[in-house]
Each structure stands twice: as structure tokens, then as C-alpha cells.
């Protein structure tokens, strides 16, 4: 079948759908975690009970994770309405109200997808979307990821059709002129990479998609693969044609089973329609894509380690040069790009380099995709033009800090990135500004911390992650990070000395210099940025044995205020897991600090009308007897 025919068929299928009544349910991993599959079942049961034949379609994620499960009801003769947090209990009401009747249940709605409807906001006008510019997230959550015709009807595969009419050098030039830089984190110009690989001698050549998204707190690649996998596949086919490769691999984490399943379906569909395989769209170009599932190693995200993993070896990096463009998979020229990078390709070919480079800043073109998580009101996914400030993303898109707490830091780029303070919130998001601030774009995880988070503990958390995930090849990365972690743990437990800070700085430099790959090379960043911007917290831990955020267990104690304790209540006694709380009925309750494991259950269960449990730091703010008991507990190792 030729492309216009495929297109006509897809468009008519889409039009028929628009002329019918249908329901979209977001069943990406985030939706499922919030119970979307129960909602789906409830819809199917209710529709069957009411003998209605509305189509229920599982879609991906719109990026509004805080509002999951998210349901959209689309009616041919009325406007489309999006409902947040749809639990199974709400389903009969929605079916009765809007599927069968004329009541759009706007009191339950997040908004509408058509303008100028009274009673509910127009979704693109929500403050959440004020700064957004959706390019590769545009169709996520609106189309069926397992129906290639939905993608084609939205303009999918037009880029490939156009590319096949161009010469490979023309494509590479177009990508180069667009200013696209690698979205895996380092920001290398994509056009250059393609050019190097196309010029490289050796055959066969390979195209690899890096979908080994390992940063804790980053999940945009997963969302793209679960919501609109065809755009990644299309980008890879164009890349293959441009550099002269006939084989591609998608290396994806095994921890993303749903993304793997949806990708398998998507690949099958692309083969069925002739976008993959032999003689693609009659062009005599052949291209195949194979899935390789990772077996769980963070370091596999590094390009040379990733290739080792595809070859079935231990995933350890090797020195570069030679770069993969010259000597990659099985020693052959290999192009490696990230999921997001490939996603932009078909649009750049279709709409032109000028269109893409008109978005963003001078040095960083296009959009940036971030996951928002941590102490933020509206966690989720966002796509904004490069150059948008952190402030705008956190406060406008993310809805600000949760529970009326105050902002402390934002962590960008996972274990390779850094923690930036309030004074840098006006930093524009682009590769260079973030690097200057000591952080990096990384994969795009943006995690907000509030006053209750300890910066030393946070640094220690990332170092702990790196020590577990270091592949062990380079001594400085394997052992140097461990030394840094020990120093941080000492500081957290009140055993730190001021000279530890100098040692940390020295070690950080050595680790950067002595590591082959970016895992070690950037591992000290969380420590360096927290020391640079939150040095007072380190000093409080060392000099005053105080954890200002009251997080570090050795420096923090739970205490029941005698004048606030309601003597009749026994919530804390009944729930304390280590039976550390004593006090007969009618007596003031008291924590035996020697047994207390700092789990916080007493604080959680103490009724808000009493609010008698507090956290104290340093532990010397306890009554002297209790402080001594706490010391004894620590010495016995109760805190683990």
C-alpha cells in the first residue's frame, strides 16, 4: 500500500471515531498506579449493564499524574470533557450523566477540550499549561498507543514519507540546521552525530535508541513509549535511512513492562503497514528494529555500556574515542540517540528546521521535557520551550509547594545533577545555564524539596545510589564515591569534622578526573552543589550536631510535650512498633529514647487536636535524662 492510501484509511478511521461516542482512560503506568484499571473495568461493566455501545479506549498519559485516573468523554454532538481522579464509584454517575444523558457533570470535571463552554475551564488555558508548548507530548493521552492509525491520522509518518523523497545528506543537514541537541542529557548536536556516523567507514551500521531511563524520579521516556511509541520508531527509521543503516535496536529497561508491551505492539503494526521491513513505502530502503530489554543496571544508560549490554556482556563502559559513530555495536558504526531525540526527528523533517529552531533559546533549540515530582502540588510531566525558568515550571506548571511549606531546593538531572537553591529559581532551562549553575539537564527529572528535607541527607542519598550502581571498572568511581558516602554518613550522624568538607571537595575532583564515563564523572555533583548552596546545613550538622530539617535520625528525637498530651488517649502507645512509649491511662505518655527508632508513627497518629508529638534537634534539646537515653540507644544501634 502506498502512503496516501494508508493515510486516507487512517484518517477515515479517525473521523469515524470522532463521529461516535467514546471514552478515553489513561492507563499508562502512572494511571494504573492510581487505579485506572479498576476504573476501566467499572466503565466496561456499567456500559454493559446500561446496554450502551460506547467504545472505551486505553490511552497513555497527558502528563497530569496528580489527577490520575484521568477519563475523557467524547460525544459527537457535544464538547469533550476531561475528569480527574475518577474512581470506580464515580463511574455510574458519569455514564448516567454524560454518556447516556446531557449532563456533562462539570462539577467533577477538570475542564473541557473545546473553548467557551460555561462552567468548566478550557484545558489548554489552565495555569498548568500556561508555559507549555507540546510538540512530542502533543498526542500523549489523546490517541490509542496501540493503534497506528490514530498516530497516522495526527500526521504521523508524513515525516518518513517526506524523508524517503530526500537524499540522506539533505536529511542530515536539515537535522543539523534545526539545532537539535541530544536529549539524553549531555546535549551533543544531533546533526553532527548523524554526520559522523554517516561518514564512518564500516558496514553494517546500526541505529540504537537509548530507552534505559534509569534516573530515579525521571519517567518521561516511559510516558512517551507508553503513550505514543510510533514517533520514536518513525525517528529511528529516518535516522537509519539518513546514515545508511538497515538495523535498529531499542534498548529498554525491563522495569518498564508496559512500555515494552506497547512497543512490541507498535513495532508489529509498523511492520504490517510496511513502515518497517523490506522496501519501505516502495523506496527500496530496508530497515528492521529489534527490542533488547535491559536486565537492570543504571550504568547501561551510558552509550558504550549500553552497547556492551546489547552484545550480551556485563554492561561496563569503555574509553572513548573511538566513539560509537565509528566503532560501536560489534565494532561497527553505530548511532545512539535518546527516546526524546528520535521523537523530534519526524517533525523536523515534516515542518522544517526553521520551525524547530524558532522554538527555544539561541543555544538550546526546541522544547524541554521534565517530570515534576517531590514536594510539589501537581506532579506530572511537562513540555516547555527551552529557556523557561525554573520558577515558572515549579510555581505555575507544578502549582507550587505542597502543604504550605516553604521551598528549599530543586534537584535537576538525577544523580548526575545538582540541587539549586531559591536564589537560582530564575535560571532559564537550557543546557548551558544549568551547567553553569553546577547542575545539568540530565534526563529531565525535576524534584522539588521543601523545608523538611535535609540537604546533607539528600547528597548522601544520591551518593548511596551511585555506589550501588557503579559498575566497578574505575577505582575512583567504585571506591572514591564510597569514601565520600562514608564521610557524608558521618556528618549525618553527628560524627563529622570540618576537615571532612575539604576531603569531600578533593575526592570530588579526583572522582571526576578518574572515571571513564559520566556516571562517575558527574557523581559528585549533588554533593558539590549542596556544599556550594547549603553549606550552613553541613556546618549545623558538624558544629552544632543539629539537623535543621529534623531528618537525620542520630541528630533528631521525637518528644511528647507533657502539657499537650491528653492523658486518656493511647494512640501512640498502641501503635509504637518498638513499645518505646510508656504511661498508664491517665498519665502523661513518655518516649523511652533508648528504644525509639525514629519511625515517626507517634507523630502520625497523635490526634491533631492534641498535636503533642514534636521533633527536636539537636538531641540536647531533650530533657537531660532523655538525651542520655538517646545516646545509649544510638550506641546500641537501635537506629539501624
Amino acid at each position: 500500500m502506498n502512503f496516501p492510501k494508508i493515510q486516507t484509511r487512517a484518517e477515515s478511521e479517525w473521523e469515524n471515531l470522532q463521529a461516535s461516542l467514546y471514552i478515553l482512560i489513561g492507563t499508562a503506568t502512572c494511571g494504573r498506579a492510581a487505579g485506572a484499571l479498576n476504573t476501566l473495568e467499572a466503565f466496561q461493566a456499567e456500559l454493559a449493564r446500561q446496554k450502551t455501545s460506547a467504545e472505551v479506549i486505553e490511552v497513555g498519559c497527558m502528563g497530569l499524574c496528580y489527577a490520575e485516573p484521568l477519563v475523557t468523554i467524547s460525544k459527537p454532538d457535544s464538547f469533550r470533557v476531561v475528569y480527574p481522579n475518577v474512581t470506580p464509584e464515580l463511574v455510574p454517575r458519569l455514564v448516567e450523566g454524560y454518556v447516556l444523558g446531557d449532563d456533562p457533570c462539570l462539577e467533577l470535571a477538570l475542564g473541557t477540550l473545546e473553548e467557551d463552554e460555561e462552567g468548566a475551564p478550557y484545558i489548554p488555558e489552565l495555569s498548568r499549561f500556561e508555559h507549555e508548548r507540546r510538540i512530542i507530548l502533543a498526542h500523549c493521552g489523546y490517541i490509542d498507543p496501540q493503534n497506528i492509525n490514530h498516530y497516522i491520522a495526527q500526521g504521523g509518518y508524513r515525516g518518513l514519507d517526506r524523508a524517503l523523497a530526500m537524499s540522506p545528506p539533505e536529511i542530515i543537514e536539515e537535522i543539523g540546521r534545526s539545532g537539535l541537541r541530544g536529549r539524553g542529557g549531555a546535549g551533543f548536536p544531533t546533526g553532527k552525530k548523524w554526520e559522523f556516523c554517516s561518514r564512518a567507514k564500516g558496514s553494517p551500521k546500526y541505529v540504537v535508541c537509548n530507552a534505559d531511563e534509569g534516573d530515579p524520579g525521571a519517567f518521561m521516556d516511559r510516558v512517551i513509549l507508553e503513550s505514543n511509541p510510533q514517533q520514536v520508531i518513525e525517528g529511528m527509521i529516518i535516522a537509519g535511512y539518513a546514515i545508511g543503516a538497515n538495523k535498529g535496536y531499542i534498548y529498554i529497561r525491563a522495569e518498564y513492562p508496559l512500555a515494552v508491551d506497547r512497543l512490541k505492539v507498535a513495532l508489529g503494526e509498523a511492520y504490517d503497514l510496511g513502515f518497517l521491513g523490506q522496501d519501505i513505502l516502495g523506496s527500496s530502503f530496508n530497515f528492521d528494529i529489534e527490542l533488547a530489554t535491559g536486565a537492570g543496571a543504571f550504568v547501561s544508560g551510558e552509550e558504550t555500556a549500553l552497547m556492551a549490554a546489547i552484545e550480551g556482556k556485563m554492561s561496563t563502559p569503555r574509553p572513548r574515542p573511538p566513539y560509537p559513530a565509528n566503532e560501536g555495536l560489534w565494532g561497527k558504526p553505530t548511532l545512539i540517540n535518546n527516546v526524546k531525540t528520535y521523537s523530534y526527528v519526524h517533525l523536523i523533517i515534516e515542518k522544517g528546521a526553521g520551525w524547530f529552531s524558532s522554538i527555544g533559546t539561541e543555544e538550546s533549540k526546541g522544547t524541554a521535557i521534565f517530570t515534576l515530582a517531590g514536594k510539589i502540588n501537581c506532579a506530572g510531566l511537562t513540555e516547555v520551550p527551552m529557556g523557561t525558568s525554573l520558577q515558572e515550571i515549579i510555581y505555575d506548571t507544578g502549582g507550587g509547594i505542597a502543604n504550605d511549606k516553604s521551598f528549599k531546593a530543586v534537584q535537576i538531572g538525577g544523580p548526575s545533577g545538582g540541587c539549586l537553591p531559591e536564589s537560582l529559581l530564575n535560571t532559564p532551562i537550557d543546557y548551558d545555564s544549568l551547567r553553569e549553575a553546577g547542575s545539568m539537564m540530565g534526563s529531565g527529572g525535576l524534584i522539588v524539596m521543601d523545608e523538611d528535607n535535609c540537604m546533607v541527607d539528600t547528597a548522601s542519598f544520591f551518593l548511596d545510589f551511585v555506589t550501588k550502581e557503579s559498575c566497578g571498572k574505575c577505582t575512583m568511581c567504585r571506591l572514591g564515591t564510597l569514601q565520600m558516602l562514608r564521610a557524608l554518613e558521618d556528618i549525618c550522624s553527628g560524627k563529622g569534622k570540618m576537615e571532612d568538607l575539604d576531603n569531600l571537595l578533593e575526592l570530588a575532583e579526583d572522582i571526576k578526573a578518574g572515571s571513564l564515563c559520566a556516571l562517575g564523572g558527574t557523581a559528585p555533583n549533588p554533593v558539590l552543589t549542596t556544599m556550594r548552596y547549603f553549606k550552613h546545613e553541613y556546618e549545623d550538622h558538624i558544629l552544632r550536631k543539629q539537623c535543621p530539617a529534623k531528618v537525620c535520625p542520630e541528630l533528631t528525637a521525637y518528644y511528647i510535650l507533657p502539657d499537650k498530651c491528653d492523658r486518656a488517649c493511647e494512640h501512640c502507645i498502641l501503635t509504637c512498633p518498638t513499645e518505646a512509649i510508656k504511661g498508664e491511662k491517665g498519665e502523661v505518655k513518655h518516649i523511652d529514647q533508648e528504644k525509639c527508632v525514629n519511625c515517626g508513627t507517634c507523630l502520625e497518629v497523635c490526634p491533631p487536636e492534641y498535636n503533642a508529638v514534636v521533633k527536636l534537634s539537636p538531641v540536647t534539646s531533650l530533657p537531660p535524662e532523655d538525651a542520655k537515653a538517646k545516646e545509649r540507644g544510638i550506641a546500641q544501634g537501635v537506629l539501624g
Partner: protein, 156 residues
């Protein structure tokens, strides 16, 4: 290995091409069938692919996904991603170690529970998150964790 395990192993191996690049997918398949990778299975794989046993063992112990021993009935995974950490993930892990009387990475002697930490399950808006089997337990506290364990305990 039991007789059934051996049969399953031969079946999986018989479907695979003896190419070095197939080592990881093959091990993944075997683990999917058997639940873990017994020593004999690794030896079989080594001779099938004609590579040293130590190379198979190296790969198996390098990647987090592979297991050398079977899991307990209930597989408890505590998310240790950044968002979960900031909301007290470590306290949840400690609570589970206390409640189940095992350390992270261990399986209870009666094979009732296995406790593991995972890097990030990507449900950051529900932090801190614990998975028991495939069930997601969102917004945990040490106290809620203790309560959520009860039905699983009765099911042993």
C-alpha cells in the same frame, strides 16, 4: 533442580539460537520460567553458548534483575527513588525490615516474604510507594505499612 525445572530449562534453551548475543534474553527467559537461575541452569547456558561458566556468572551477578535463589511467596519491593526518599522511603524500608524480621535483599526462612529495594518505579506522585507482588501501595507511612501487611500475612 527438580525434574519439571529441568524440563522447562531444556524447552527454553531449545527455542534459542546458540549465539553469544542471546545470553541475556536467554537468562531472562529462564528466570521467567523458573523464578530464579539455579547453578545447573547457568552451567547449561554456558555449554549451550560455548562460553566460560564464569562469564555467565559474571553477567548474572552484574545485573540487578537476576536472582540466584527463588523468591518468597510475597515479593515486597520498596521504591528508593528520589521522590520516595524525600517522603520517607527509608523509614518504610526500616519498618518492613522490622515487621518481617528480615533485612533488605533477604527472603524469610519460611519463604513467606522477600524484601527488596528498587531504584524507581516511576510513580513519583504517589511517593513513598511499596509494591507487594504487582499491587501498588501508595503514600505509605510506617504505620500504614504495618496495616497493609496484615492480609498478606494471613495468606501464607
Amino acid at each position: 533442580m527438580t525434574v519439571t525445572e529441568k524440563d522447562k530449562l531444556s524447552e527454553v534453551i531449545s527455542k534459542c539460537k546458540p549465539e553469544r548475543g542471546n545470553l541475556i534474553p536467554l537468562l531472562q527467559e529462564i528466570q521467567a520460567e523458573l523464578g530464579y537461575l539455579p547453578q545447573e541452569a547457568m552451567q547449561e547456558v554456558a555449554s549451550f553458548l560455548d562460553i566460560p561458566k564464569v562469564e555467565v556468572y559474571g553477567v548474572v551477578t552484574f545485573y540487578n534483575q537476576f536472582r540466584l535463589a527463588p523468591l518468597g511467596k510475597h515479593h515486597v519491593r520498596v521504591c528508593m527513588g528520589t521522590a520516595c526518599h524525600l517522603r520517607g522511603g527509608k523509614l518504610i524500608l526500616e519498618a518492613l525490615e522490622r515487621e518481617l524480621s528480615i533485612k533488605v535483599g533477604q527472603t524469610a526462612p519460611d519463604r513467606s516474604f522477600s524484601l527488596e529495594r528498587v531504584a524507581c518505579v516511576g510513580c513519583c506522585m504517589l511517593a513513598p510507594v511499596v509494591l507487594i507482588g504487582e499491587e501498588i501501595h501508595p503514600k505509605m507511612t510506617p504505620f500504614k505499612m504495618e496495616e497493609d501487611l496484615t492480609p498478606y500475612r494471613q495468606e501464607i
